[in-house]
């Protein structure tokens, strides 16, 4: 997994590349936690999944953990450019409705910043 993050306005954007499996889930969880802790109230997080291959349950758990903590800070978390396989996985786990989904960064940042 290759994980980077940057800020666009009030939105923290995570870029995930490659497979997110095994120990990657814990790294992802810690990165989300750090961003949420450092972020202000109403933290906004966008996860860009373009280039993300496989995800295992640990990676899903990291996303859900981030969702829960963002909710506690009355923030928002969205994802964009998830592959068909990841969309299927989110649907399988009934998590698709948990995350706002966006087609591209401009739309995501505009929505999450509002």
């Amino acid at each position: 997994m290759d994980l980077t993050f940057r800020r666009s306005g009030h939105v923290i954007i995570f870029n995930l590349k490659g497979n997110v499996i095994g120990p990657d889930g814990m790294k992802l969880r810690e990165a989300f936690q750090k961003a949420i802790e450092l972020g202000a109230d109403k933290v906004r997080i966008l996860v860009d999944l373009e280039g993300t291959g496989m995800m295992d349950s640990s990676a899903l758990g990291a996303l859900v953990n981030a969702y829960t903590h963002v909710q506690q800070k009355k923030g928002r978390i969205g994802i964009m450019r998830a592959s068909a396989n990841i969309q299927k996985l989110l649907t399988l786990a009934k998590l698709a409705q948990l995350f706002e989904q966006f087609p591209d960064e401009a739309a995501a940042v505009a929505s999450l910043s509002s």
Binding site: G22, P23, R29, M55, D56, S57, G61, V64, N85, L98
Partner: protein, 148 residues
């Protein structure tokens, strides 16, 4: 790695690979590499290979975390059996076992918001057959190449 599935003398013959691994999360990539190679050679589509790979990782991670509870004195035993059409992977831990029926449904109520507990759901969705032995220490996963 040599070609494991196209031995000229009898391509239908059942072959197996046995791995006895330390209880170490990092070692699970070894199992993944072996099974992925075999699955690709068997002709599974690439997205199915990914599903098999995730299932194997989930099964092995469960053995390390929940079965052996990270006890480095215990091992994870993996047996991969395959012929030209069917892949079977058996993952056995040295823990006390568990009752798979007692695992909380990750799709039910507040369980949706838990940050763990989806591994078995994914394995069952991705593999054709999934079963445990009586004491819950041995997971068997089967995937077959679709008939044309």
């Amino acid at each position: 790695m040599s070609d494991l599935t196209t031995a000229s003398e009898n391509p239908q013959a059942l072959r197996d690979v046995i791995l006895n691994l330390p209880t170490d999360v990092a070692m699970m990539s070894v199992v993944d590499a072996v099974v992925t190679h075999i699955a690709q050679d068997m002709g599974f589509e690439s997205d199915v290979v990914e599903m098999i790979s995730v299932s194997i990782i989930e099964g092995c991670m469960n053995a390390v975390k929940h079965g052996n509870k990270y006890d480095t004195n215990k091992r994870v035993h993996v047996r991969v059996e395959f012929d030209s059409t069917t892949l079977k992977v058996v993952v056995k831990d040295e823990g006390v076992g568990f009752n798979p029926q007692a695992v909380a449904d990750p799709l039910s109520g507040d369980n949706l918001f838990r940050d763990h507990g989806r591994g078995l759901l994914m394995i069952r969705a991705y593999m054709d057959e999934v079963s445990y032995n009586d004491d819950g220490t041995e997971l068997t996963m089967v995937k077959s190449v679709p008939k044309e």
